[in-house]
Amino acid sequence: MMKSIRFTLAALSIASASLSALAGDAALSPGEQLADRNCAWCHGASAQGFATAPQLAGQRPAYIVNQLRSFYDHTRDNPLSQQYMWGAAAKLTPEAAHDLAAYFAGLESKPANDGYKELCAQGQEIYELGIPDENIVACVACHGPNAEGVRQIPRLGGLSYHYLKRKLKQWGEGYHSAAQPPMPQIASKLSPEQIEALASYLSFVR
């Protein structure tokens, strides 16, 4: 009798242990659950970004919420956003967007380090001082000394050179984004060389 009870208890405890391992999801935050099942495919399991999908780890949460809203509203209309993010954000509720944003914001970010090193000095000068003769403002005024952003202004530090270059170009090409003016006016004034310098510098900023 005792033997069978002990056996049953042992079997039950083993079974419940493996069940809770399978249901390991329950220990994760709502944001992480959503991200693992929906975002990790493109943005990477640690949200550092992959191929054309940008890094989300360590991004300002208010910025992420605004971007998700703009994908949902079809405001942000550059080609890759249309192709991938409009669908990805189509069923998001505001709560889900907040949960995702909180999750990504809390992740540690690693700089992409994929810019051209020889352009960094020029990029840093544009970032910190702008070019007054060409009426190009200093990015640091809004984006911060380490390109970390604040509130709804995004972190630029450590994002991929390729992503930043594309975004800066697209503003000048007339694509819309969640950002109100003045970003389109600012970015439109940049020459291709200045864009490459900025994108290179920023990709190394931690």
Binding site: G130, P132, N135, A141, C142, P145, R151, I153
Partner: protein, 215 residues
């Protein structure tokens, strides 16, 4: 006499027309060397200072220029150029501005009047108003209204405070002589030194909140 007068009239008229060419024309020697002349420069200022000059809360609090006293704006731009007021971004912005451009920009922003950005803690407004209108006699602090005006609109070289950004006001009052008066000889910013030093942080935040709410 009539003939001579007529002969002079045409060249005189041409000369008058040329000399009175206004700020719309990109006459390089008058407006400086930057691209886009006056319009380009104004747009550039507004990219940081707000599209109607209302200011902007970037990483740094970028102050409101709308409605500001032109003499004050010109003085600050000169202070940035001469490094009497420390700000790396503004020194770079200002050093390419010709005197005529300085004046034109100051007058342009003076004429703007958007609503204040707001956002200061409402709980501080009553105390802020008291300090602004009555001063703090026990600390020997005069009423701000005495110089800045009852509506905080300033005059001449005394700046308008109405509608200024709350975080910007707090920052400048707390750091008054760390950023200003950096030249070899004292400049007009010295007048605020004893006041800024005597105000404690709570009083600074209160009066900053109050002026930021004024239209």
């Amino acid at each position: 006499m009539k003939k001579i007068a007529l002969r002079l009239a045409v060249p005189a008229a041409i000369l008058t027309a040329v000399l009175s060419a206004g700020y719309g024309a990109d006459t390089g020697y008058r407006l400086g060397r930057s691209k886009g002349g006056f319009e380009g420069k104004v747009q550039y200022c507004k990219e940081c200072h707000g599209l109607s000059g209302e200011g902007y809360r970037g990483y740094y609090a970028i102050p409101r220029l709308a409605g500001q006293q032109p003499v004050y704006i010109e003085n600050q731009l000169r202070a940035f150029i001469e490094k009497r007021r420390t700000n790396a971004i503004m020194a770079n912005v200002a050093h390419v501005l010709s005197p005529d451009m300085l004046t034109a920009l100051a007058n342009h922003f003076h004429a703007l009047n958007p609503r204040p950005l707001g956002g200061a803690p409402k709980a501080l407004l009553a105390k802020g108003k008291e300090i602004y209108t009555l001063g703090i006699p026990e600390a020997n602090i005069p009423a701000c209204a005495a110089c800045h005006g009852p509506e905080a609109t300033g005059s001449e070289s005394i700046p308008r405070l109405a509608g200024q950004l709350y975080p910007y006001m707090v920052k400048v009052l707390k750091n008054w002589d760390r950023d200003r008066g950096q030249g070899a000889t004292p400049d007009t910013s010295a007048i605020m030194n004893p006041i800024a030093h005597s105000l404690n942080n709570a009083q600074i935040e209160a009066v900053a909140a109050y002026v930021s709410s004024l239209q």
